[in-house]
Amino acid sequence: MQISEIEKEIKEEFELFDDWTDKYHYIIELGQKLPPLDDQYKTEENKIRGCQSSVWLHAYEKEGRIYFEADSDSTFVKGEIALLVRVLSGQKADEIVKSDLGFIDEIGLRQHIAVTRANGLASMIKQMKLYALGLQSRVEK
């Protein structure tokens, strides 16, 4: 599936919730279901430091597509990661780089901007795109 299609799917899922409490619970549930990252990837190098939680992000390339695996000490942040992984993992690098991830706004996550600042959602996305760029250039060489 393409990035835009998966985003649409997520938006439809979130339309079922009419309030933030339900969305919070759903994101926590996604976080609890996300498989933990293998310890060998929980390195300082893979760590994205937020103000209130840490994220470990591991990326690899396989047959021209980029795959992501990630983990956090916060279950809520893991839930956010689960959404991002679902949208971006397994896509082509150039698609990842040019994605605007509008779903984050539309499902009402952006309004919790203080949280975003705290958990480094923005730096997580930036890092995913950087990995995609780096892995892509390696493939092209």
Binding site: D18, W20, Y24, I28, C51, Q52, T75, F76
Partner: protein, 423 residues
């Protein structure tokens, strides 16, 4: 002004009555969420809510006498100047300073500390000198001194604390030496709630002739401060933590020290006369107040001081400590909850961690129930490092909070644990 006159003098403390002064408390948050949740505001150490009289003072200023001050010959300017100048006397009386010249308006505690570090530090701190702070300082009482130390090749020394979050006073004595040139200590810790023995620190420091700055940001709303009795050399605090607007604050300094210090920033108001050859500076306190001051907010800050002055401070303080004690007792009954900061002398701040539950996740869960707490390191990263934790949940109380609200917090913490605990 009518807003000032409407504040009545002392009445018996009644929380329901006190709450009526704070319009923000009467609302539901997340109104779209099944009718919303009644707001329970436990983030008072970050900023206090504002009583209606303070809000009215701001509106009154902008609606009826907004003008630049001290230079205008016209009616509005004179009225605004007078209202602004009156606040300096209110602040002086509030902390019992000797003279209005010792009261410098700043935009808050952070700016006050930076002013002292820059101005006093520039003149009096040299290579190899030592500056002493405590292990529980807010970043705003660490970084300005680090910047100074870097510039002057001076050394920062830290008074350590025990596992309860109390300063080790015997270690403090050992830190003092002829190299010690300045001490800057927090009165009440924002992340642990510890009330430090600042008077004792000041007395010991003065025996060695060392000046002391006290960071009173977390103290002023909760206890009566008398700078002459403390005998501190500098005392700094913010208006917004004591019912005033953001962007207001104060630097108190002993007159002789302030006279000797060079100006901090240059501009209008702080000068006596300017020429390209030589500029002379204005007298205290104006020497340290360059540019148009924050007239509106300072005037409303004055109203906040009036508001505090009309309260029975001792009674209010007892009530707040009661809330802290109740919350601590209830939290300690919950399996897996550990209080961080259990000093014998504490203010109305309760910091805690939960086994196997991330503080951010729990804080967000409480928020969905309308309970506003703070999570994280509270701008005191070294404190978190000392206790070997990434951060805490913090509930900080004001007299407008109630036991019933604490019950909602406790219930929320229990539910957060069952939802979030990692099995």
């Amino acid at each position: 002004m009518t807003t000032h006159a409407s504040i009545e003098k002392v009445k018996p403390f009644d929380v329901a009555e006190a709450r009526k002064d704070f319009p923000v408390l009467f609302q539901k948050v997340y109104p779209g969420s099944k009718g919303g949740k009644l707001l329970i505001y436990f983030d008072n150490a970050a900023t206090s809510q504002k009583p209606q009289v303070v809000i009215d003072a701001l509106v009154d200023y902008y609606s009826t006498y907004n003008a630049n001050i001290h230079r205008g010959v016209h009616y509005l300017s004179q009225k605004a100047s007078q209202a602004f100048d009156e606040v300096r006397e209110k602040v002086r009386a509030f902390i019992n300073a000797e003279s209005e010249k010792e009261i410098i308006f700043t935009k808050g505690t952070t700016e006050s500390i930076n002013l002292v570090a820059s101005s006093y530090g520039r003149k009096y701190i040299g290579a190899g000198d030592e500056i002493v702070i405590t292990a529980m300082e807010h970043h705003s009482n660490i970084v300005p001194w680090q910047l100074l130390c870097e510039e002057k090749q001076a050394v920062l020394k830290v008074i350590p604390m025990n596992d309860s979050g109390e300063l080790l006073m015997s270690e403090f004595e050992k830190l003092l030496s002829p190299k010690t040139k300045f001490i800057s200590v927090v009165h009440t810790s924002n992340s642990l709630g510890t009330i430090n023995p600042v008077k004792e620190i000041i007395r010991a420091a003065h025996q060695h002739g060392i000046p002391v700055l006290v960071d009173g940001a977390q103290a002023v709303a909760h206890e009566v401060i008398d700078v002459q009795e403390l005998d501190c050399d500098f005392f700094v605090f913010s208006g917004h933590k004591m019912f005033g607007p953001t962007g207001t604050g104060c630097l108190y300094g002993k007159q002789a020290l302030l006279e000797a210090m060079p100006p901090y920033q240059g501009g209008g108001e702080m000068i006596q006369s300017v020429s390209f050859e030589k500029t002379t500076y204005n007298a205290l306190p104006y020497k340290f107040e360059a540019g148009t001051p924050n007239v509106a907010d300072v005037i409303a800050f004055g109203t906040a001081i009036d508001y505090l002055g009309a309260l029975d401070r001792e009674r209010v303080s007892k009530y707040e400590l009661g809330l802290m004690q109740y919350a601590s007792d209830q939290l300690e009954k919950i399996n897996g909850v550990k209080l961080i900061g259990t000093a014998k002398k504490k203010a109305g701040i309760v910091s805690f961690v939960i086994d196997g539950v991330n503080a951010l996740d729990a804080g967000m869960y409480l928020d969905t129930r309308g309970v506003a707490v703070r999570t994280g390191h509270h701008c005191t990263e070294p404190v978190m490092k000392r206790f070997n934790i990434p951060g805490t949940l913090r509930a900080s109380f004001m007299f407008y909070n109630t036991k019933e609200e604490i019950d909602v917090l406790i219930d929320g913490v229990r539910k957060a644990i069952s939802l979030l605990e990692k099995k």
